[in-house]
């Protein structure tokens, strides 16, 4: 960092010392760079401002003018519940798998193929969400039906698997699993980076003291990567909260607020609700949908800022 700063200063001094023509070029170029920087910040601010201004009418409108004849809070609450539920399932499924995948790539697989394996995991992030949606409803959903039935029969006493089991697989559990696959690469990439940076003296020290590989992982790699894994999980959660198409396609929605993960009646999510209703809406219904988008924006913003704060604090240490 300090090295960059000295060069910057040296460059500025030189530029200042040389002729006026050069200074003009420098001024134009550096101004352009600053304008680009400010544009990006303005864009983010614009997202917030336009969502607030277009969403605002829905906050003040009376219940009878809004879709479903509910006040805005009553309208958005079940959607927010569905969003958080689907994302919580996704995170709970994805994080252990992502940690295992990262450990496998960094400490277990032969180093020769580790790079290729990492690339394969990253490929999961490259697949468009619409394709995940189609795969979820045509392939995973039908394949999951017998599993859902089994869960209902054997574990039906747990409220999560109360049933009746869906006959199509368009359930919260399946949607959550597809979301888990979608966020796995980002969680795994962050965990992988941290695990690979575990200081040699710790890992080799542990082995020199007679630790087996698992003991080495448990006592050095996992504690070292802990905060990275936490921030990665939060970033993954943020992704899952905002993911639209997979849920839109897979989930069969009824507006019910329930923890039942395997039935046909599920709460929708904010993003899926927008994608489903926006194309056919007009007037105040549009404002209401934009207002729910604002709520989603706020939720993801808080999640992401918290994740970034964890990363920043850790880099500081």
């Amino acid at each position: 960092m300090s090295q960059v700063d000295t060069t910057t200063n040296a460059g500025q001094l030189l530029a200042a010392a040389s002729g006026g023509r050069r200074r003009l070029g420098d001024r134009v170029f550096s101004r352009t760079a600053v304008v680009a920087a400010v544009t990006i910040l303005a864009l983010l601010a614009g997202v917030a401002i336009f969502l607030v201004s277009e969403g605002f009418p829905a906050f003040t409108a009376s219940a009878s003018e809004l879709p479903e004849g509910k006040s805005f809070l009553d309208y958005v609450a079940p959607l927010a519940f569905g969003t958080v539920l689907a994302s919580a399932i996704a995170t709970a499924v994805a994080v252990p798998l992502a940690i295992a995948a990262a450990l496998f790539i960094t400490h277990i697989a032969p180093p020769r193929i580790a790079g290729t394996l990492g690339y394969l995991v990253d490929l999961l992030a490259a697949i468009p969400s619409i394709v995940y949606g189609l795969w979820g409803i045509f392939v995973l959903g039908p394949a999951a039906v017998p599993v859902l039935k089994w869960l209902e029969e054997k574990l039906g006493w747990i409220p999560l698997f109360e049933g009746p089991a869906s006959a199509t697989g368009r359930t919260m559990l399946v949607a959550g699993i597809v979301l888990a696959v979608m966020i796995l690469p980002i969680v795994s990439a962050i965990a992988r980076e941290a695990f690979a940076q575990t200081p040699r003296k710790l890992t080799e020290g542990a082995q020199a003291l007679g630790a087996t590989r698992w003991e080495m992982i448990r006592m050095t790699v996992l504690p070292f990567g802990k905060s990275s894994v936490i921030s990665g999980a939060m970033l993954g959660l943020g992704r899952a909260l905002g993911e639209t198409m997979a849920v839109t396609i897979i989930l069969s929605v009824s507006g019910a607020v329930s923890f039942n993960l395997i039935s046909q009646a599920n709460p929708s999510t904010i993003a899926a609700n927008i994608a489903l209703d926006f194309p056919e809406s007009s007037g105040l219904a549009i404002n209401a949908l934009i207002a729910t988008g604002l709520v989603l924006f706020a939720i993801t913003l808080v999640t992401n800022m918290a994740a970034r704060a964890v990363i920043a604090r850790q880099n500081h240490e």
Binding site: D5, F29, H107, L235
Partner: protein
Amino acid sequence: MESATVTDSPGLARPSSLLASGAGWRRRAKDRLMTVLIAGAFALAMIPLISLVYEVTKRGIPGLNLDFFTEDARGVVGEGGGASHAIVGTLVITGVAALISVPIGIMGAIYLNEYGQGRLRRALTFFVDVMTGIPSIVAGLFAYALFELFLGPGIRLGVMGSVALSVLMIPIVIRSAEEVLKIVPNHLREAAYALGTPKWKTIVKVVLPTAFAGLVTGVMIAIARIVGETAPLLVTTGVVDSMNSDPFHGRMQNLAVYAYNEYRSPGVFKQAAYDKAWAAALTLIAIVMLLNVAARLVYRRYKTEIR
């Protein structure tokens, strides 16, 4: 990395079992068990990738024929017709998004790496990270709200989709460009300054050419990330059956929304519509994979060797 091989070599593993004496087999068994569990979890995570690629290929091929690439869907019911309007729309919308995002993103990265100081730099670094987390549907709503303000409610334009995609693409471009500029060694800049080169010329003639392959790779990967976006386009570019290549007039179809729409409203001839949806999905995956592979090749072929 090498630690893995160290454990495997019997010469080093033996002392540990000697030290642990009686309990050694238990620890070794646990080590084996955990290794198997971790490898199993990795395999489990790979199943969706394999299944997805297999199913999309298998189900996509029946719908892929010449018509798919040459015809649009105007007045088509059931079989026949194609997605040429969606392919053209995808290219136009993504192209305009790249035209907006690449200059802003790369100049932003130049700001961060070459000029930035103090609060603006810190704010930009932080908020670019935050921007990478904006849900794509929210970016779409933003573009809609922006254009609605000027052009009235219900507006749908190709360029609105491009603006929405830019919100998603700029942070990806700026992140990757910043990484690449960071690894351009300082002695190159210092050498240019020592010859009396002004700073802007140093950046244009020394820094950017050195980083060129990395910048191109970053842009291609960013395009690959947004080319398959559905949600933001669903609320901005609308759905249409006929060809439109003008981003500033009227609705514009694209491959992702086309696939969604064929699935969502298949009409009477369900299988024909589903075939088209899968064909569009396969085309999208092919585009994304091509961009990813091309990006790697560009980087390998053109990267500057830095000594």
